[in-house]
Symmetry: C2
Subunit: 221 residues, 2 copies
């Protein structure tokens, strides 16, 4: 795919578009105007048109977007059709939660193995994914081309494990450890999951609502 | 706090600013220019100045921002100093992962109780938080003013539990179930955590890197 440089903000909006298009498909909607799509997402129509224009020509004046076609194209831009493979490192609570509830294959990823140090887990399977010992990590990666690693180890192990991952063909780390991995991973793409960002946005909206209620009560005194 | 209406995009950036300011504090940095802060965050200085201007006057020409003062003010805008209380519903993998690893108090939240239907969990404590039976939910909320609920129940239970939560003074739901809760929750703020958004952004960057490598190889043929 030929690519132009696209800003991070645009890239961050693409998954939201994809989710909304999936919901529209489920609702049986097969075409939508940029105005309607924008209003459903709390954006402006011109922003949506501008975002999509980074990836080609979409939509028609007076017709709008063809939902399945737009969905397919955005999915392809996002790499959903690349058959990326993943391993998960650390079968603790968060690792198990992902293996149990997160449907990697919905997003084009194949989770091929998980790794842990707990002898009670090693050699077992969880949701059809084999759990191997950490001592086998390098051998496994050498023999099985793996695109990304899902890092769900305890904080203390994050840097050491990252060092072991680099240099084995891993392109990216999906990092749930809350540890910044910028140091040892210059060549590896790191995507950090920060639960706190989400909680703090929620906190903002609650605080705002309270302040508005207080202001209203003041005015009505 | 007097508030002006601020766009969602600005609100979504505030937690990132807070995290960066925390890191700067840890690094011993006590003042920073908007230019430098912007470059560390991949934004423009004018965007940062514009974002902050929604919340008052910060920074001084030629001096920059005072890191601890800016940090304190943004934290307050985000409601970190409100003493919000939370309950967690569903002590499965993701619920346990949050109770185990996510430091609610770092972000001003007090997790006062968790709820589950598993008789083996009910009456126990996990990380100092009591686990109560779901049948006690309404009574608990009536007796203990609770600001938010962390929803970590299985998909199938999401809507029913949400209906039980509404009308009991809960302001917001932090929703990990991947189920859209817009229907029954008109009055409740819902913050959805979508792991897929994060994975798909990562997927984009990996696909982009591959395409660039392919294009480079083509050119060098």
């Amino acid at each position: 795919m030929k690519r132009v440089k696209v800003s991070n903000n645009v890239i961050r909006r693409l998954p939201r578009y994809l989710r909304r298009l999936d919901e529209l498909t489920e609702e049986g909607v097969s075409r939508i105007s940029s105005f309607e799509l924008a209003s459903q997402l709390g954006l402006t129509a011109s922003q949506i048109r501008q975002d999509f224009s980074c990836f080609g020509e979409f939509g028609q004046q007076g017709y709008g977007y063809n939902v399945p076609a737009l969905r397919a194209h955005l999915a392809s831009v996002l790499g959903v059709d690349r058959g990326f493979t993943a391993v998960l490192i650390g079968v603790g609570n968060i690792g198990r939660a992902l293996m149990d509830n997160f449907c990697f294959s919905d997003w084009g990823f194949r989770l091929t193995a998980a790794f842990d140090i707990d002898p009670r887990l090693i050699g077992t399977e969880f949701k059809g994914v084999p759990i191997l010992g950490m001592e086998n990590l390098e051998d496994y990666l050498a023999e099985n081309k793996t695109d990304i690693a899902v890092l769900t180890v305890p904080k203390e192990a994050a840097v050491t494990v990252t060092e072991r991952l680099t240099g084995h063909g891993i392109d990216a780390i999906w990092n749930f450890t809350n540890v910044e991995l910028t140091g040892p991973t210059s060549d590896v793409i790191v995507e950090n999951v920060h639960f706190s960002d989400s909680l703090l946005s929620l906190s903002y909206y609650v605080a705002e609502r309270r302040d508005e209620a207080t202001a209203k009560a003041e005015r009505e005194k």
